[in-house]
Amino acid sequence: MKFKDQLRFVRQNMKKNKSRVFMTVLATAMGCAFLIVLASVGFGLQKSIVDKIVGDRLVTAITVWGKKNIDQQLNAEDLKYLKSLNHVKAVTYKDYIMQPLVYTSDNQTMSTDKTVAVDFEEEAKAGFALAAGRLPQKPGEVVAGFHFGKTVIGPEDAARSEDKRADKERAEGWIGKKLTFDVHQLVNGKKESFPQQVTVVGIKEKPKREWLMDTNIYIEIGLRDQIEQLTGTQLGEMRIAANGNEEAYEPRAFDEPRNYNSVETFVSKAQQVKETAETMREKGYSIHSIADEVSQIDVVFTIMKIGLVFVGTIAILIASIGIFNTMTMAVTERSQDIGIMKAIGAHPRIIRRIFLLESAWIGLLGALVGTAAAYLLSAAVNTGVPLLIQAFMNEKVPQDFIFSLIPPYLAALSCAISVGVALLSGARPAKRATRVDVLRALRRDV
């Protein structure tokens, strides 16, 4: 018997009792929708929480704290080694200038306390993202943090609070501005100043975490070297003169071997993090990667999602009782038809297949309707829950927070579970159909 004929039989049979089939499909659809929506909460929360944790950091980044339990700082040799590792596409570091530089521009004074020297070539490879402008190409050019403008102090403070421009527009306003600052150092016990001027050529992308403020000035390594030459010390650190009980402090000279801080290595793909991290650990580096952190969270969420899918599956199992009942009644009602078919030569295998196909069809219809309903419910949850939280709890849900997320494979898995459970619940009635006694079905006098 051909498959299309089997389907025709199934359709004909289902038409015989439309309301019962409809109710069974409805129950399956409800079970399937419940499973998807329940699991989608796990997926949604995982995505939102992981996104919050990852924030600006890249999952392809591995932070290197130091060597031998952080006691030993990284030197140029280490950086060279890290760059030589397989899959590593960039190695970045941050050299914080060790004295507060006060920037002024157009009679405005900025209170930023961090000036960071970075290797822009490596940063570009690592994905240093700009909100506007370009990366510096010479020592006199800098990139300002997105919130650099918010560090203006003095009478401008009030004006700034009345500035209704969008953050990005305001940040972009700094491009092309010249900033002046003084580098200080004790020379023969006397504080000397060395005026400098730089131009803002780029604005760094806004940090993804709302509460983070990026007020840094990112300078070129060339400018760091200039500052070091002026101060004679590494990272422009200031000398301290002896004063009473306090001893004089002489920082490390700029031409001494250098240590590197906030070293991060970047691999091309997230899957390469584990292998690269293992290699680094074997070499004695103390490291941390967001992928490690996320993988731990993923484990927790995977367990949670399995639990939710399991609970959701119970709903489908309950619906399967309906399918079992429907199929059992169908077998009872059609026992004469089955008997006639068997009497004229229908193979028991075909009878079983027709009934299994019918239950699978009910499962599939329920799964499709349930999946469509689940997508609608998911959208309603994502729209409605923040409004409810705001209305009843007076709390604002963070922007882009997703409560329910249905990845395509969740929908596919739920459909597979629905059809699988439907097949299982139809198996026994189908087997019963093959056992229909021909003579009894034909009501023949024997």
Partner: protein, 234 residues
């Protein structure tokens, strides 16, 4: 064609443990030849339907063997019997046994569907048979919309649609009036002569026995001696 060798059968009646054994057939030996119309006659309870059911494979004999077209069929599994039935047998029943939710066309088509024939070939075959049994105007009618005679003609068409070498008929005229009975018997006779189909007909109707090449009488589960003879020649 059909060889029944020393077949005995009995039914176990009653609850398990206190069953009563009722013998139905005793050492039946019967040979049915190709192209024969054989009428099996006997009183109610004589075992004629049981004999037909044994030949159909609906039940298995307690003792003895049945050979159909040279094949020993007694030990076939249920699935093998199903295939065997579809290949070699057509069936006609007293109460027609048409599927009520299928039209006359679909009922006739059913054996072809089970065999897996293409839709187009099926259509040609069914239409040809519907013409033959004079039902071409009733293709879309459900059994409930047809008269007894028409239903039996649908049943005949269904039995013959696969051109089986053997048709087993259990009281085919039992539910028909005399006019329809005569039509059906004429049709059986024609088909036997045209196609060479072997008919084994269970009946207690003398009219049916009259068109048979041979009548076999059963009484109390035994063949009546001297009754296995040709009674009618065309």
């Amino acid at each position: 064609m059909i060889e029944v060798k020393g077949v005995s059968h009995q039914f176990n009646i009653g609850k398990k443990g206190s069953e009563k054994i009722v013998p139905v057939l005793h050492e039946i030996n019967l040979h049915i030849k190709k192209r024969e119309i054989v009428a099996i006659v006997g009183r109610s309870g004589s075992g004629k339907s049981t004999l037909l059911n044994l030949m159909s494979g609906y039940i298995r004999p307690v003792k003895g063997e049945i050979h159909v077209m040279g094949e020993q069929v007694t030990h076939l599994s249920e699935g093998q019997w199903a295939d065997f039935r579809l290949r070699h047998f057509g069936f006609m029943f007293q109460s027609f046994q048409l599927i009520p939710s299928m039209t006359a066309y679909e009922n006739i088509e059913l054996p072809l569907v089970l065999q897996g024939m293409d839709t187009l070939k099926r259509k040609l075959r069914v239409q040809e048979l519907m013409e033959r049994v004079d039902l071409h105007d009733y293709a879309g009618h459900y059994p409930g919309e047809l008269s007894g005679g028409q239903q039996q003609r649908v049943s005949v068409a269904r039995a013959l649609v696969l051109n089986p070498p053997i048709v087993l008929a259990d009281e085919p005229t039992g539910s028909l009036d005399s006019e329809n009975e005569m039509q059906l018997l004429g049709l059986i006779h024609e088909l036997n002569r045209e196609r060479g189909t072997t008919f084994v007909i269970i009946t207690h109707d003398e009219q049916v026995a009259a068109i048979a090449d041979r009548t076999v009488a059963l009484a109390d589960g035994r063949l009546k001696p001297g009754k296995e003879q040709v009674t009618y020649e065309v």
